[in-house]
């Protein structure tokens, strides 16, 4: 059943639930961060409107820096600005940053320990018609392997805003992945958010679904359906992929004895991998990882693609049934 302490949107299961792209929440959060701290600056690589950095540019034109189509320079200039006391947010599509500029991010931001905040919009298969070149499905893998880096994948626009404000206050290099498409707003202003703290959105004891991004909504839908068959499901919104909330996840392994993870990312190297690395070493339980199975995306409408690539409520239900069978053996 829904955890009332999570203060989720009361219209959660309504057909007309409000839908907003998570990048919008980032845009609002960046303006708020800019109001709080005059050292916050925004750098963008020729994608100011579509990454929603435009609002910051309008409000603080003197603190907005246009980089042109040059993502390597984007990351490295930001490193230099951070060294001189600024809190730089660098924005592009996830495929280009942290995609194209990974080595610069590793050396000049993470190893150099500079508090650069990387915002990767248009992540996931739901980017849609633009096709595989623009559908970042590897970004969490390449960022979470970097020492010092924080990796966050918010479940909706409200959480994206909270995450943006939160990383503006920390010293760590950080990455937030955002969606292009509208996704249901499942949280409220009163839903708890803390970097590194996973939240139980639906409580249960037979199986745990650990999800991030828009797969949290689909997991909640799956849980509701499963509860009709008397299967008690714990749904955990694991917005921070790194540092992983070991306590909440191991407790779920112990309490439920079976885990399904769900993410809009390659199964290799993302949230599922992070959970498996933890659980397999400390409290092994049967597990299934829902994600893109080692292949590139393609053009199509977002929902068609989510269906084709198996990122649906039904796929989650099937995986739950499968891990429950493994658990019984």
């Amino acid at each position: 059943m829904i955890n009332s302490n999570a203060n989720l949107n009361p219209k959660l299961f309504d057909k007309d639930i409000e839908q907003v792209p998570s990048r919008n929440g980032y845009g609002e959060g960046l303006v708020a961060a800019g109001e709080e701290n005059p050292n916050v600056v925004a750098l963008c690589a020729d994608l100011t409107e579509s990454t929603r950095t435009q609002a910051f540019k309008d409000k603080f034109p003197e603190r907005f820096i246009e980089m042109g189509v040059a993502e390597q320079n984007l990351a490295t200039v930001a490193s230099g600005m951070a060294a001189a006391g600024k809190v730089p947010f660098i924005t592009s599509y996830a495929m280009f940053s942290p995609g194209r500029n990974w080595e610069q991010t590793r050396t000049t931001i993470c190893y150099n320990d500079q508090p650069v905040k990387i915002i990767g919009s248009h992540a996931g298969i739901s980017v849609g018609p633009d096709g595989a070149t623009h559908q970042a499905l590897e970004d969490m893998a390449i960022t979470r392997v970097l020492p010092n880096m924080v990796v966050i994948c918010p479940c909706d626009a409200i959480e994206a805003k909270k995450a943006t404000l939160a990383i503006a206050k920390t010293k760590e290099p950080s990455y937030i992945r955002l969606s292009r498409e509208k996704v249901p707003v499942i949280t409220t202003e009163n839903t708890p958010f803390e970097i590194g703290k996973a939240e139980v959105f639906n409580d249960g004891k037979d199986v745990a679904i650990i999800a991030c991004g828009q797969m949290v909504y689909r997991s909640l839908l799956a849980a509701k359906k499963l509860e009709e068959s008397k299967i008690s499901v714990r749904v955990i919104n694991c917005h921070t992929i790194k540092p992983l909330d070991n306590t909440t996840i191991l407790k779920a392994a112990e309490d439920c004895g079976a885990i399904v993870t769900a993410e809009e990312h390659q199964v290799n190297g993302g949230l599922g991998s992070a959970v498996a690395e933890l659980v397999s070493q400390h409290f092994p339980v049967p597990m299934k990882i829902i994600g893109v199975e080692d292949r590139f995306g393609e053009s199509g409408e977002p929902n068609e693609l989510l269906e084709k690539f198996g990122l649906t409520k039904d796929a989650i239900i099937k995986a739950v049934t499968s891990v429950l069978r493994m658990k019984e053996k």
Binding site: V41, Q72, N73, T76, V77, Q104, T108
Partner: protein, 285 residues
């Protein structure tokens, strides 16, 4: 502003000591780069003992000039110069590249006082210097940003992204010094990837360009001072240097780019440095 002959003699003596330490460090480490550090010893000496506004007792002093070493592999010259300037004990130079050292094979900012950045992978330093310079201009700071780059790393796209961006933003508190020694690992720069006409390329991107003899202290210091008088443009100083400068058998030979001397070669190199190419008798013999 000109400089007195006696000051130049002092700088020349300091540069010889720094070159000797570079040879000793590399011999002790058993790996590392020889040609670049020796070739840049005069420029580093001029910067840290004349040009830069800095305080070795306060490496984090907010108003210090920033020196970004982009081609991190020549760090033996940076380490030796920082040690002689007083950032850490000269005795620590012998720990270069050894387990537990603060003197990593390529510079790591947070482990050693005096480093402005972490570097090694080529082509990223100029962008970082640009970021510092822009932040300084935004906050109306008086400090200056120097970036030392190699000619070889001008093969990298990241470098040209930075050159274009610095010109656009008229970063007039930024001076780039290019170590134009004409060598890189695989051979001579003009064979590997031609860079000329380098001066005209920078000018086309909105920079003011000066060319100097990178072993002439007066020219090094004068050009750095002149750079501060240029209005509304970043300045690039193309410093023509001799790779391996000071050690006859290393000079102008690209094979010395990425290797250290063995014991016999180090002995020969130290003899040459101490006797000014055999012109005087060494007290060490």
């Amino acid at each position: 502003m000109s400089i007195f002959d006696q000051d130049i003699h002092k700088l020349e003596e300091k540069a010889v000591l720094i070159r000797e330490d570079i040879i000793k460090m590399l011999l002790e480490a058993g790996s590392g780069h020889s040609a670049g550090p020796l070739g840049m010893a005069d420029i580093f000496t001029a910067l840290y003992f004349n040009v830069l506004n800095h305080d070795p007792t306060k490496p984090d002093w907010e108003d210090r000039d920033r020196l970004v070493l982009s081609n991190g592999h020549i760090c033996p010259v940076l380490y030796a110069t920082l040690a002689h300037a007083g950032y850490f004990p000269v005795s620590e130079l012998k720990t270069l590249r050894k387990l537990g050292t603060r003197l990593q094979g390529h510079p790591h900012r947070s482990t050693l006082p005096g480093l402005e950045t972490t570097s090694g992978p080529l082509g990223s330093g100029l962008s970082q210097a640009c970021g510092m310079a822009l932040a300084g201009l935004m906050d109306k700071k008086k400090w200056w940003v120097y970036c030392l780059t190699s000619d070889g790393e001008h093969d990298a796209g990241n470098t040209w992204e930075a050159i274009m961006w610095a010109g656009k933003n008229k970063l007039n508190n930024l001076t780039v010094i290019i170590d134009r020694n004409n060598i890189q690992i695989d051979g001579f720069t003009e064979n590997i990837m031609p860079l000329e006409p380098l001066k005209q390329k920078y000018e086309a991107f909105g920079w003011h360009v000066l060319e100097i003899d990178g072993h002439n202290f007066e020219e090094i210091i004068d050009s750095c001072n002149k750079a501060k008088t240029i209005f509304n443009q970043p300045v690039c100083i193309i410093a023509h240097t001799i790779p391996g400068k000071g050690v006859d058998f290393m000079e102008k030979d690209y094979k010395w780019h990425g290797i250290p001397p063995d014991e016999k070669q180090a002995k020969q190199a130290l003899h040459e440095l101490r006797t000014l190419q055999g012109k005087i008798r060494s007290e060490h013999e």
